[in-house]
């Protein structure tokens, strides 16, 4: 990529027999909010620690602004990190924590105080200067960790699941603040998370990782709407994944599946051939239920329903396919259904994705 700010080139990292990062190449642009998303143990934190200089890659190179930093020790790198447990120095107060990285700049007392105040204001912690490390909540510690890293004006800020320890409400608040902060300071953020919602909300681009490899990297909307594999589709959001076989290819691809019979699908981005085993993927919100049989409606039985406030989830069982089920989310379906009730399933063939197995 021409405008690559961070270049990760064929980086691998093994611990003994375990390969944590498996030949990853990535380019991250300047000022981008880039997320590494994956289940725990997928290598995302190891990759972040390689960027920060806390692990040396077994093979491969890391460049920032064209400079090879692969073997540069952590304390000389133009990166700063917000640790998962925040790593607030327990023997120092907030002011001393935030000012920790300023020692080498040999600032006067006034300059330092001014910088610290500005950094604390940025994370909305004015007046907390003298607070001790153990007198703060998780959210406040997180803000101190952010201020302490940002005061260094790093080229890249690395964040290791910084919101993981916060409760849901605070987490959602911090997500918005983090995004605003990133746009305000214009620093490139590399953000590690296992929370797909968080990754989709915050990022300019997301890399979905599993078992040390990158499965897909794209803007959040593309990841959500066009997952490139069954693995990604399964990991991102709720998705009905149906096994099928390609019957014929013409204007549309005709796929037969146990649950829906023959379905004509518009998507053939993965170039399938007749006879291929494929996965039909469709989001719950792209399926709908009807009380009356309509053209193309499939008779189904409601297996379970769950009210979620803004939407209601139904698990349905198409007739004559055993116990296989599909999930449907419906916002405007007024006819409340109970398990055992009959209904008709409607869908649009353009909402289906076809993924090669």
């Amino acid at each position: 990529m021409a405008d690559a700010f961070i270049e990760i080139a064929s980086v691998s990292k093994s611990f003994g027999n375990v390969t944590a990062v498996d030949n990853i190449s990535l380019s991250i642009r300047k000022g981008e909010f880039f997320s590494l998303l994956g289940p725990s143990g997928c290598g995302k934190t190891t990759l972040l620690r390689i960027l920060g200089g806390f692990e040396a890659p077994s093979t491969g190179k890391i460049l920032i602004e064209g400079q090879d930093i692969t073997h540069m020790p952590a304390h000389l790198r133009p990166t700063n990190m917000v640790f998962q447990n925040y790593a607030i120095f327990p023997h120092l107060n907030v002011e001393q924590n935030v000012a920790y990285g300023l020692r080498q700049q040999k600032l006067s007392r006034e300059e330092q105080t001014e910088k610290v105040s500005a950094a604390l204001a940025m994370v909305q912690l004015e007046g907390f200067d003298k607070r001790g490390a153990d007198e703060m909540s998780g959210g406040q510690k997180q803000r101190v960790a952010l201020a302490r890293a940002l005061i260094k004006r790093p080229k890249v800020l690395l964040l290791d699941e910084p919101l993981g320890a916060l409760d849901k409400k605070l987490r959602e608040e911090m997500q918005i603040e983090l995004r605003m902060l990133q746009q305000q300071v214009g620093i490139t953020f590399v953000f590690v998370t296992h929370d797909q919602e968080e990754a989709l909300t915050l990022s300019d681009r997301v890399a979905v990782m599993n078992e040390g490899r990158i499965l897909q990297q794209a803007p959040p909307r593309d990841i959500y709407e066009r997952p490139s594999s069954r693995e990604v589709a399964d990991f991102i959001g709720k998705m009905n994944l149906l096994r099928g076989i390609v019957e014929s290819i013409g204007e549309q691809v005709v796929v037969s599946s146990a649950e829906l019979g023959s379905v004509s699908v518009n998507d053939n981005s993965q170039a399938v051939h007749p006879g291929d085993r494929v996965t039909l993927a469709v989001r719950p919100e792209n399926l709908s239920l009807s009380d009356t049989p309509s053209t193309g409606g499939l008779p189904v039985t409601i297996a379970a329903s769950a009210f979620w406030g803004h939407t209601t989830y139904y698990r349905i069982n198409p007739e004559g396919v055993g116990t296989n089920t599909l999930d449907i989310s419906q916002q405007d379906y007024r006819g409340s259904k109970n398990s055992g009730d009959q209904a008709w399933l409607c869908f649009n063939s353009s909402d289906f994705l076809l993924l090669k197995d």
Binding site: G52, A74, H75, A87, H91, Q96, G101
Partner: protein
Amino acid sequence: MNRNMKLASRILGTYAVIYVAYLYLPVLFLPLFSFNDSIYISFPLRGWTLKWYQVMLANEALHRALMNSLKVGITTALISTVLGILGARAVTRYRLPGQKPVVGVIMLPLVVPEIILAMALLILILRLGGSLGLVSIAAGHILICVPFAMVVLMSRFEGFDRSLEEASHDLGENSWWTFWRVTFPNVLPGIVASLLLTFTISFDEFIMAFFLGSTNPTLPVFMWNQLRFPKLLPGVLALGAYILIASVFIVLLAEWFRRRNASDTQTGDMIIG
């Protein structure tokens, strides 16, 4: 509370009182008899006197022995604590090949009888043509004190989050500054504990000091020498009382320091400035 529990708690209470009395009464007899105006230990006291304290304060040999013990004790405390810091840090921070056997060997002096160590060192030093004296005593004391320092410091190092050191590196400090600004203030209570413990062990250690000292006795050896002559016994009792007071003072000082450190979380960076 039913009757059985009342009985049980009464028995336990009595046991506790007897236990504490057994621990401390003999120690309290030491200062008591040191005020006795007689060279023999007997009840009732013949009369009250402070002369044994004056005798001891004026005893030149005692001064020398005390100075010897302080020299050996302080040297031992400093060197074994520094070695303990290095060892504990290495063991808790890095995955080293053969780590467990190495730690086992370091800890060995804890279980090897001291008299064996003392004899082995004596033979070794004489064979190598070394001379006996305070240096050889300190060497022996360091050998037995390093495991204690390691144990105290390892628990402190383990109890302190490794990511703090990483955060310091991340914020631009090299290993040396990270040690001074983060590691040292966080393990400081352990360092103080180690210094006090190793000093105390060295200060009252007898076997090594007896085997490896020449004509230059440390305080315990000096006391043992005195005990062989009945007429010197009361003086030894007075000396014992002095040491008792000093010990209580040191324990109180250590406790005060520990509490101050616990409440004042900023001590660390204030030392660095």
